[in-house]
């Protein structure tokens, strides 16, 4: 299956190179807004509980997600957590891309992304600097270095704080690394991300996300997400309590399958559920019966 992922990625990259006209503008600077033609339910309202479909989680990732209780988000330390770089581009987002120029040489030493969601600032260093040592702090955006491959920007990111691959409890570990390719077709910017998580994924998670150039952006469109302040959302709760489900006691894990008349097995995720050929296997599986109304 890893080979299959490789082939898919290679095809997308090849397509990008072939369809980019010679001499086309490769600068990425500008204001970009998210397009939502892919996976809209997940990106807007949010994923449903127990929906692990298409995410190549391993057994550890599955157990973590099964244990996760959405009430965890009410803890003060969790309320204002930002999305991590492998996830944030799929949110409701505006991205302002600028370049940092070395004043002495006038070369571009970094590309900066200002991401409206949680007002995140990301720097992609192009000056060949090494990644920090393992003991350096992690951040939501991580530490990124990049290089131009023709008119495609390749970016490699490490040192990302623990976050999620999907915001219904599927965890992303702090050992995750991400390789991205940014390529532009006129007014459309495509980000191809390959996320590798040795702790919670059994294969790389490959996604493409499209952004549209916006020439009419005003500064106030970037200001809505700047501030977040945690409040006491559950008065009286012991601050040492951590909401979670004990193993085997999460009542919501089959809800998604029942609601959409799906078999349960594919909703449990795993690398196999990413591939088109899995559709045939699903057809032979029993469908989850809806839960009886109380």
């Amino acid at each position: 299956m890893a080979r299959s992922v490789f082939i898919h990625v290679a095809m997308v990259l090849l397509l990008a190179l072939v369809t980019t006209p010679a001499g086309a503008q490769s600068f990425l600077s500008g204001d970009w807004v998210g397009l939502f033609q892919e996976d809209q339910p997940e990106r807007g309202p949010g994923p449903e509980l127990g929906d692990y479909l298409g995410i190549p989680i391993n057994a550890a990732g599955r157990q973590y997600a099964d244990s996760w209780d959405a009430s965890r988000l009410t803890l003060p330390e969790h309320q204002c957590r930002a999305h991590v770089s492998p996830y944030i581009y799929r949110g409701p987002i505006r991205v302002r891309i600028t370049e940092e120029i070395d004043p002495g040489t006038q070369t571009v030493i970094a590309i900066r992304h200002f991401l409206s969601t949680y007002a995140q600032e990301r720097t992609i260093w192009l000056d060949g600097r090494p990644h920090p040592p393992d003991e350096a702090p992690h951040t939501w955006m991580g530490f990124s270095t990049g290089e131009w491959q023709g008119e495609v920007l390749k970016v490699y990111t490490t040192h990302i704080t623990q976050g999620w691959h999907r915001r219904n409890g599927i965890p992303m570990s702090a050992k995750t690394t991400m390789t991205e390719y940014f390529f532009r077709h006129g007014n459309v910017l495509t980000q191809l991300s390959i996320t590798e998580d040795p702790i919670f994924l059994e294969e790389p998670l490959v996604k493409t996300t499209n952004l549209l150039l916006d020439t009419e952006t005003t500064p106030n469109q970037y200001q809505a997400w700047l501030f977040c302040q945690a409040d006491d959302e559950v008065p009286g709760r012991d601050p040492a309590d951590v909401p979670h489900h004990l193993p085997g006691k999460n009542p919501y894990l089959t809800e998604f399958a029942a609601k959409h008349a799906l078999p349960v097995e594919p909703t449990r995720g795993g690398a196999e559920t990413m591939y088109p050929q899995y559709m045939e296997k699903i057809k032979a599986m029993p469908v989850q019966a809806p839960a009886a109304r109380r």
Binding site: A136, P137, S173, I199, F200
Partner: protein, 331 residues
Amino acid sequence: MFKGLALVAAAVMLSVLSAHVDGSAQGTSAPPRREGGLYTMPVQGNVHVIVGAGANVTVQVGNLGAILVDTGTAQSAGAVLDSLHQLTTRPVRHIINTHSHADHVGGNEQIGASGAPISGRGVAVVGAGTSPRAEIIAHEETLNRMSAPAGSQAPTPVAAWPTSTFSGKHKEFFYNGEGIQIVHVPSAHTDGDSIVFFRRSDVIAAGDVYSTVSYPVIDAQRGGSITGILDGLNQLLDLAIAGEKTEGGTMIVPGHGRISDEADLVEYRDMVTIIRDRVQDMLNRGMTLAQVQAARPTMEYDGLYGAAPGWSASQFVEAVYRGLKPERSSQ
């Protein structure tokens, strides 16, 4: 001509400012310095960390001299001093021990001897003569673990023992322009744990109450407990304040592993709490230790924390199990 000079000066200033902004450990543009396999990294403010000495060694530097939180192993002491000399030419004035384990106090003797106290403090070390040495501060239980009654063989040399102890909840003093709080965490990793808060730099040295590379090591023979570990982690969370956009702010140097912020710490606290709750539930259901270990209540976290030398997931589960009692009211 002047305009040209002004532009050059502005460029230089921009370059300096840029280097300053990126002077944090993650933004460092140069490879980390290495002395005997050790790394030295800035944390923030006056505080740095020396990594690779067996345990993290936190260093506060300033005009008055250096303070070290822990000293690493005895074998690393020379390399720690070499690394320290890259940070400051001033002497070590104080050593603060977070607990008594050899990977944290092993360098006390050599590094202490290289230092000098201010105004005579630290001279009266039993058996160490009158030569000036850095003062060694720790909780009283740490001294008890490192020393022995007269006539008995102590586990550590006399010159490595703390020379200034406290027995209450905390000790505090002002040094190098900032307040320093040493807070005792009872019965956590051991019975003598302390965390050290550099208030102006906004950095906490957490000792082995917190690690990013292993489950919490609970040294039950020396008074450690799962309850104390969780109390300590929650105490750290109370002290830490996340920075803008919920990252950075108070930085935490764990006993082992990477420099952290509140976002890292809360994940670790959550993990320990969840495992404690699972083991408690199994205990309440009458499961034996072997059954609990076989059920793998740590499973999803083992890839992150289960491969530490000398402290397996199974050992951690056993320590948690033995530190809890069945609760009648639980389901």
